[in-house]
């Protein structure tokens, strides 16, 4: 996580700053005579003054980060802490709210409904993320190397779904696929084929995968494409001179160089995929197979706002957050060990 110090940043040692200030003034007044070197003791005192000055100035940096952290604390950390706090209590109709230790957690962890949804969401992520990242990498490479004609136009078109809210994307696909009347279904029926029943138990998750791929591929392409564009020219040129084939240049040079970008894209998408909510929730009136525990987030929502079991919902949220953080952190660390700089 040390990426905060940019790769191109030249770190200036704090001690150099004083020297540089002198330089600036010297260079600004070049016609002045160069002063005789001061004594060692005076230089030492000046250096110490400079350091104290620097420390005072650096403290002002806190003022720059403060506004963000005030909001961060109030609207993210406090709710999170409250969530953890609530999850240790249970509210009953009679008796009010009582401390119940880990009982919400043991209930969540031993809850078949939670794990069914979790399993389904894992399956969703395991299909959607790799398929989408492969598609996006394929097109990003094509655009980067200029293989396809009209690359710029295609790139712009592929990016369009990023402007479409998930709600609208789901409404469009849902309407096109809905039983009996959806345009795709009617094509099947007109050809004399049976209704494919896109919202049936076997196909529903696939439909959601398609919607998610439609929504996010273009954005992912742009991320990978811009990463590919920063690959230095001479590296690829020398590979060409050495007679490397196109496929080898892609798989052995370009993709390894942008590996940190791919890792980050995978993590962002896994985090998103495991929170799956909007698509199944919106489809639920036309797809009865969307159960109240279809995904952990849907389950949490229903527990909170239909069953009013806020404490239990908070425990579900904490468990889900833990699972997501552990998975993404583990993935990050495993990639880091392999040499990817994230």
């Amino acid at each position: 996580m040390s990426a905060g110090a940019g790769p191109n940043e030249v770190t200036v040692h704090p001690l150099c700053v004083g020297a540089k200030v002198t330089q600036v003034s010297v260079s600004e007044a070049q016609d002045h005579k160069v002063e005789p070197p001061p004594s060692v003791a005076a230089a030492e005192a000046a250096r110490r003054r400079q350091l104290a000055f620097q420390r005072r100035r650096d403290r002002r940096g806190l003022l720059f980060v403060l506004p963000f952290f005030v909001i961060f604390l109030m609207f993210l950390v406090v709710p999170l802490a409250y969530s953890v706090y609530t999850s240790f209590f249970t509210t009953r109709m009679i008796g009010g709210t009582v401390f119940s230790g880990f009982s919400n957690y043991t209930q969540a962890l031993s809850d078949g409904a939670f794990w069914t949804g979790m399993g389904r969401t894992f399956l969703f992520a395991a299909i959607q993320v790799p398929v989408m990242v492969v598609i996006a990498t394929f097109f990003a490479t094509i655009f980067d190397m200029g293989v396809a004609r009209f690359g710029g136009a295609f790139r712009a078109v592929f990016f369009l779904p990023f402007a479409v809210p998930g709600v609208v994307a789901t409404a469009m696909w849902g309407s096109m696929l809905q039983t009996r009347v959806g345009v795709f279904v009617r094509i099947f029926l007109d050809l004399g084929l049976p209704d494919p029943n896109f919202f049936g138990p076997g196909h529903l998750l696939g439909v959601i995968v398609v919607i998610a791929i439609w929504e996010w591929t273009g954005f992912t392409i742009i991320l990978l494409y811009t990463a590919l564009k920063s690959v230095p020219r001479d590296v690829v040129e020398s590979a060409i001179v050495d007679g490397a084939a196109f496929s080898r240049i892609v798989t052995r040079i370009k993709l390894p160089i942008i590996r940190p970008a791919i890792v980050l894209v995978v993590i962002i998408n896994v985090i998103g995929a495991l929170q799956l909510f909007t698509e199944p929730y919106l489809l639920s009136p036309m797809a009865p197979n969307v159960s109240s525990n279809y995904t952990p987030t849907v389950y949490m929502y229903n527990e909170a706002f239909s069953a009013y079991a806020y404490d239990f919902a908070a425990a579900i949220a904490v468990v889900l957050a833990f699972i997501i953080i552990i998975i993404s952190a583990a993935f990050l660390l495993s990639q880091r060990r392999k040499g990817a700089l994230v």
Partner: protein, 314 residues
């Protein structure tokens, strides 16, 4: 001594020598066959089809009467061409609150959320990149951990906290969380680190400029590409967000477009009301994506997606 005065960042020196990146290499040098190029173009064409099919469907459907949306072939226009009356219907429908109100709400949330996230993350990123205050590393680690925290983890608790302080179903309750964007802070730190030279800041300090003035007059102009990217990203994610407003707001007057469309879309699935709602929901959906598409076209040249991944080119 004077040799150390002007320090060129290695990246700049590098770019000066090798103008251009590997993308500029002419294709024929790779020795590809024409067939490969045709196949790649075909693949792009197929994915274009996949991308445009729903957008084409929604455009065509928004010109149809409610009955015709499902009764006629979805990918082509049908006889009564009623786009204008559909749009008028959308704008004037007040059954579940006003669509125009939702549009206005969403514009306000997205604008405040986008500007707020940009300002907060630009300040924080600059502070992290150019100052060495105590606790800096711990704070930055907190930002990085927040990157991994899913929104579901704090949405319901946020609602509960709001309810406690009577902030639920108010405008600030919806747009303030949009201002927290850890990824923007990260991006701004990387970008400020690479684009705002310390020498320049020090020179301004010697000239007597205050820190706020240095930030506004020197750092911000140098960070414009990153500011534009972060702004666009946050406007889009605020505009498109559904889950957070859905959880923390249940007043129809304060609905976002996505909330309102969800309600309308659900209406289309209820027998009886379906007929009336199909056409206007379709038309309303089409209106809702237009502002962002326009913004993309206008701001396209400022878009630097690669910044998100810590690259300074792109």
């Amino acid at each position: 001594m004077s040799s150390a005065t002007v320090r060129v960042r290695p990246s700049q020196a590098y770019r000066r020598r090798n103008v251009g990146v590997s993308s500029d290499i002419p294709l024929h040098l790779y020795g590809l066959r024409r067939r490969t190029i045709n196949l790649a173009t075909l693949a792009c064409g197929l994915f274009t089809l996949f991308t445009l099919v729903p957008i084409w469907w929604i455009f065509v459907s928004s010109t149809k009467t409610a009955t015709n949306v499902n009764a006629t072939f979805g990918f082509w226009f049908a006889h009564p061409f009623v786009l204008w009356s559909n749009l008028k219907e959308v704008v004037s429908n007040r059954e579940d609150g006003s669509y125009l109100q939702w549009l206005g709400n969403t514009a306000i949330y997205a604008a405040i959320g986008g500007v707020g996230a940009t300002v907060l993350s630009a300040m924080a990123g600059y502070g992290f990149a150019r100052f060495n205050f105590r606790g800096k590393n711990i704070l930055f680690i907190a930002v990085m951990i927040a990157l991994l925290i899913p929104i579901v983890a704090f949405a319901v608790p946020l609602y509960l906290v709001y309810a406690k302080v009577h902030l639920d179903s108010t405008m600030p309750a919806i747009f303030i969380p949009f201002m927290i964007s850890p990824v923007s802070v990260y991006l701004m730190r990387v970008y400020a680190g690479g684009s705002v030279p310390r020498e320049l800041i020090d020179a301004a300090r010697v000239d007597g400029a205050g820190e706020a003035r240095i930030f506004v007059r020197i750092a911000v102009p140098l960070m414009v590409p990153a500011l534009a990217t972060v702004f666009m990203l946050n406007v889009v994610s605020s505009w498109n967000n559904f889950f957070l407003p859905f959880i923390v707001n249940n007043s129809p007057k304060l609905y976002t477009l996505t909330q309102g469309l969800q309600v309308w879309f659900w209406h289309t699935n209820i027998a009886g009301t379906a007929e009336n709602f199909t056409a206007i929901t379709v038309a309303a959906s089409m209106i809702s994506i237009t502002p962002l598409l326009l913004m993309f076209i206008v701001l396209q040249r400022y878009w630097r997606g690669g910044l998100l991944l810590g690259g300074l080119t792109g």
